[in-house]
């Protein structure tokens, strides 16, 4: 039994000890560390220095600096943050400020109650990490941070027991584990609101990779070096063949002699119309954030997801830039007649070229026109030209000057998809065939583990569309004429060997492939079920569990009921009586024995020892005398003698059980 010395009143708790300070520093450093490389370079060393200073003070038992002395430091740090970021409220500036203020607060933290304040803000520091990354590894690391902060809080409220570290960690893990079911239910059922509630000022994807609204020579080949996922698609039926996988992105109408640009202003007044020649294909797209409004869909989309519009040239445009991963259901047809009844305005626009540019190409176009009977012939003649002339497919094309089309067609002849699409469209327009450039992605890789098709930035592609009488807009891929393998097998196959080697470094190494596919599938499930769990996904899940078309009110009721059940179950589990140590089996066996005899009319008197009791009963019940004597003797030996074997105790219990009075 411990004896506690009397204590006088404790007002604000004892000062933080060195272990307390170490706990605090370690747990906060753990959750702040990932910010080190994202914030201005001076932040991490300064914060570390302040933390070390605090540790030194605790280690040596020195006094903290006076509060007044910290004021200039606070002012200087705030000013530095402002100078580094240009504001104090943006994401980066806010995180910098939070980190620095916590580091400074360390220097006036003397007691557990101040430290608690810091730990609560430590939880907040955890969430700021998710502004930068929501990957599986970030989540796991931050779980570690939460356990550390929680353990530190427990450490401050743990009381005087020794062996604190292990016990504290154990309790922290227990709390997290016990909280998990409630967390899961809240995550699934808590009514989702589509953000943002107020202006989000940053581009969450960081430096956005992806298609841009313009296309100049070289813009696509940059993307081809990126293994980053552009989007994923899951088909309801078997996916189409590789060569049919043209994912439509921005359609580019306007050419200034070098750069193609999109049609932000919808000049075309034409209606969108199409005739499907095949069954619509249904699939769901999970689009990675790219900071633009264009949404990808298989050529030719015939539906539009919520909060988006489908333009006359069959682009899907989101109502706001895609800054978070989004998932949408789509339907497309692969065989179609599109806008056969195109208006004159639309066709005029598809013929417009800047004056006086690329004279050689114009001359070539004139020849093509005069040698052909129809627009279709012109297209074929141009494609034949690309096939027959010595054109090369390469990721590192030579630089092109002002007359880019002329230089490419007649001098350099080495290029990537944008060069072919651009010069082909130019030729068509110059020859009087309405044409436009379409950018997007071509290809995709099915992951057999989860049947999702991954389309990467490396699959970025550009092709052309020409308008033919009776057919409407027809896709023509001039790159396919030069490098058919690009369309059939992907970029790596189409490149010359020495360039393919660069790409191969991060793609097709066979022994790595299963690992990569597994990781891809895991990341995809994470995206689908954790990060992509948005209002529409929630409705889908609720309808799967029988709450189809649930109203906001029904969801709230379901949430409250389920949470109440879980909380009650938790209460029952946590508040149950923890049984005392098991009773001595010897005593309980003898009690049973006495109870049996009492039922038979022999109750043991308070002053009667086991031996006398046994003698009295044996005299009255000679038929049980042997058993009673054996039990009593065994009990006396076990309880008062030196016999202390488990086997003997078990024998006693067995004998008592066998006794029938």
């Amino acid at each position: 039994m411990a004896r506690i010395q009397p204590a006088t009143a404790i007002a604000a708790g004892p000062a933080l000890s060195l272990p307390d300070v170490s706990w605090l520093l370690v747990s906060l450093a753990l959750v702040a560390a990932p910010h080190a490389l994202r914030l201005p370079l001076w932040i991490a060393p300064l914060a570390a220095a302040l933390a070390f200073w605090r540790w030194h003070i605790a280690h040596r038992g020195l006094a903290l600096p006076r509060k007044l002395a910290l004021v200039p430091l606070v002012v200087a740090v705030t000013a530095s943050v402002y100078l580094s970021h240009g504001d104090l409220l943006g994401r980066d500036a806010g995180v910098s400020l939070l980190v620095m203020m916590l580091a400074l607060k360390l220097l006036e933290t003397t007691r557990p109650r101040d430290a608690m304040l810091m730990l609560l803000f430590g939880y907040f520091l955890v969430i700021t990490n998710f502004l930068y990354s929501e990957s599986v590894s970030t989540a796991l690391y931050m779980l570690l941070g939460v356990v550390a902060i929680t353990a530190t809080m427990i450490n401050f409220h743990h009381g005087p027991s020794p062996a604190a570290l292990r016990n504290t960690l154990r309790i922290a893990l227990l709390l997290v584990a016990q909280a998990a079911p409630l967390m899961l239910v809240l995550f699934i059922l808590f009514p989702r609101v589509q953000g943002p509630l107020w202006g989000v000022q940053y581009d969450k994807s960081g430096g956005s990779t992806g298609l841009s609204d313009t296309m100049a020579p070289g813009s696509m080949s940059q993307l081809s070096l990126s293994r980053a996922t552009a989007f994923r698609a899951k088909f309801e039926t078997a996916p189409p063949a590789q060569y049919a996988l043209y994912w439509r992105g921005p359609v580019l109408w306007d050419f200034d002699g070098r750069t193609w640009s999109g049609n932000a202003r919808q000049e075309s007044v034409a209606d969108r119309s199409y005739v499907a020649k095949s069954v619509p294909l249904r699939y769901a797209v999970t689009l990675e954030p790219h900071g633009k409004t264009s949404m990808l869909a298989l050529d030719l989309p015939i539906e539009r997801p919520r909060d988006s519009k489908l333009t006359p040239d069959f682009q899907i445009i989101a109502s706001a830039p895609v800054t978070t991963r989004m998932r949408y259901e789509m339907a497309s047809v692969l065989d179609y007649h599109a806008n056969v009844d195109a208006s004159d305005d639309e066709l005029r626009r598809a013929l417009r070229l800047p004056d006086n540019s690329n004279p050689r190409a114009r001359a070539l176009a004139k020849t093509l026109r005069s040698d052909s009977d129809s627009d279709r012939d012109i297209v074929d003649a141009a494609l034949a030209l690309f096939r027959q002339q010595p054109f090369f497919y390469t990721l590192s094309p030579p630089l092109l000057g002002a007359q880019a089309v002329d230089e490419f067609l007649f001098d350099k002849r080495r290029g990537f998809c944008e060069h072919y699409a651009s010069s082909f469209t130019f030729l068509m327009r110059a020859a009087g065939v309405p044409a436009r450039v379409v950018t997007g992605y071509q290809g995709g890789e099915i992951n057999p583990l989860d049947d999702y098709m991954v389309v990467r930035q490396a699959d970025a592609h550009a092709w052309a569309e020409v308008w033919l009488l009776d057919r409407g807009w027809v896709r023509i891929d001039p790159t396919a004429a030069v490098a058919p393998s690009r369309v059939e097998q992907g970029v790596t196959a189409a490149l010359p060997a020495e360039e393919a080697f660069v790409l191969a470094n991060f793609s097709e190494q066979n022994w790595l492939r299963p690992a990569r596919l597994t990781w891809d599938a895991a990341a995809n499930s994470w995206n689908q079920w954790v990060l992509g769990y948005d209002p529409s996904r929630q409705l889908q899940v609720l309808s799967n569990i029988g709450l189809r078309g649930a109203s906001w009110r029904t969801m709230a009721v379901v949430l409250i009921v389920v949470v109440s059940i879980i909380v009650l179950a938790m209460a029952a589990m946590l508040l149950r009586q923890h049984r005392a140590a098991p009773r001595d089996p010897v005593v309980s066996a003898y009690r049973t024995f006495c109870a049996k005899l009492a039922k038979g009319g022999f109750s043991r008197q308070p002053a009667e020892g086991p031996r006398d009791f046994a003698a009295r009963v044996a005299e009255a019940k000679p038929e049980h005398a042997a058993a009673i004597a054996a039990i009593s003797r065994l009990y006396i030996d076990l309880r008062y003698g030196v016999l202390a074997e488990r086997a003997a105790a078990e024998r006693l219990a067995r004998l008592v059980k066998q006794l029938k009075i």
Binding site: A2, R3, I4, Q5, P6, A7, T8, A9, I10, P112, R113, L117, L120, F121, Y123, F124, V126, I127, F130, E134, T138, A139, M142, V146, T150, M153, I154, H157, H158, G159, P160, S161, L175, V176, Q178, A180, P181, L182, M183, L186, F187, F190, Q194, G195, P196, L197, V200, K204, T323, T324, V530, Y533, D534, V567, M570, A571, L574, R579, A580, A581
Partner: protein, 292 residues
């Protein structure tokens, strides 16, 4: 022992701040579309809920019993000892007991164990001191919630009058045959009186017992070894009650340290003469309770 009804639980200041931070995190997660932010918010919220049960559980079914408290002199500190017992296989952490203005140091109660908690309470006046309503509290494990329960320990501490601390006042003289200072020496036989517990066996009138009489004690008169009577009425009339008690307490202490037997006479109460520490305590108790 604290069961369902008697434990109160409320958020602490930190608990409220925690709630505010959770709300911030919730709106932030919705605004910035942070799924993991929501996961974190819900996890922390659920941990808060779980910690309510832990905090409650940390007090539930603790048994408190009272130990004997040694008397002290007025002006000193009464030490109350409470035994906090945990009959369950679940250790309890960081519990405090709060009585009056005194708070114990935080203590743990091991599983299936017990601790003695001593609380020092100032005892300014003589009499019977009760600890009054005490509060058993805890903030374990996270400090976001505080649970507490009230108990009124069935315990008291006797506070003796503060002995007058002047240099030794002379004790009253022991006088033979005096009606006030009734002495009982052992020189001359003076008569018989009925036996009282504590009388020396050699003074029992065994011959009378042999004749069938009840136990009688022989009394002697003598000058050699007289009892001292500490008498309330002997003190100057100008002294008030507490001063008289204080003086008597001093006398009791002085008399108790000597070999002579002494008795105490208070208005309406008499402690018969005897010697030793027990007699001293008996007299001091009578002084402590006088007039209550």
């Amino acid at each position: 022992m604290f069961g369902w009804q008697e434990i109160f639980i409320l958020p602490t200041g930190h608990g409220f701040l925690f709630g505010v931070i959770l709300l911030l995190m919730l709106t932030g997660s919705v605004n910035y579309d942070l799924s993991l932010g929501l996961v974190l918010t819900f996890l922390l919220g659920a941990m808060g809920v779980v910690s309510i049960f832990h905090t409650y559980r940390n007090l539930a079914r603790l048994r408190i019993s009272v130990r004997r408290n040694p008397p002290v002199f007025a002006g000193g500190q009464a030490i109350f000892t409470l035994k906090v017992e945990n009959a369950e296989n679940l250790p309890r952490y960081n519990v405090t007991i709060h009585c009056g203005r005194q708070t114990s140091a935080p203590f743990d109660v091991p599983a299936l164990g017990a601790v003695d908690i001593q609380l020092a309470v100032p005892a300014p006046r003589r009499g019977v001191l009760k600890p009054g309503r005490c509060k058993l509290g805890t903030r374990f494990p996270l400090g976001l919630f505080k649970a507490w329960a009230y108990l009124i320990p069935d315990s008291y501490c006797l506070i003796y009058p503060n002995p007058e601390c002047e240099i030794r006042r002379p004790l009253p003289r022991a006088e033979a045959g005096d009606s006030i200072a009734r002495a009982s020496g052992n020189d001359d036989f003076a008569g018989l009186r009925s036996y009282q517990r504590g009388d020396a066996l050699r003074h029992v009138a065994w011959k009378a017992v042999a004749r069938g009489h009840p136990l009688m004690t022989k009394q002697f008169d003598g000058n050699a070894d007289l009892s001292i009577w500490l008498d309330w009425d002997e003190l100057p009339a100008s002294m008030d009650t507490e001063a008289r008690l204080s003086r008597l307490a001093r006398w009791v202490l002085d008399a108790g340290s000597g070999q002579k037997s002494f008795g105490l006479r208070l208005p309406g109460q008499t402690v018969p003469p005897a010697t030793g520490a027990v007699q001293q305590q008996r007299c001091l108790s009578a002084l402590a309770r006088f007039g209550l």
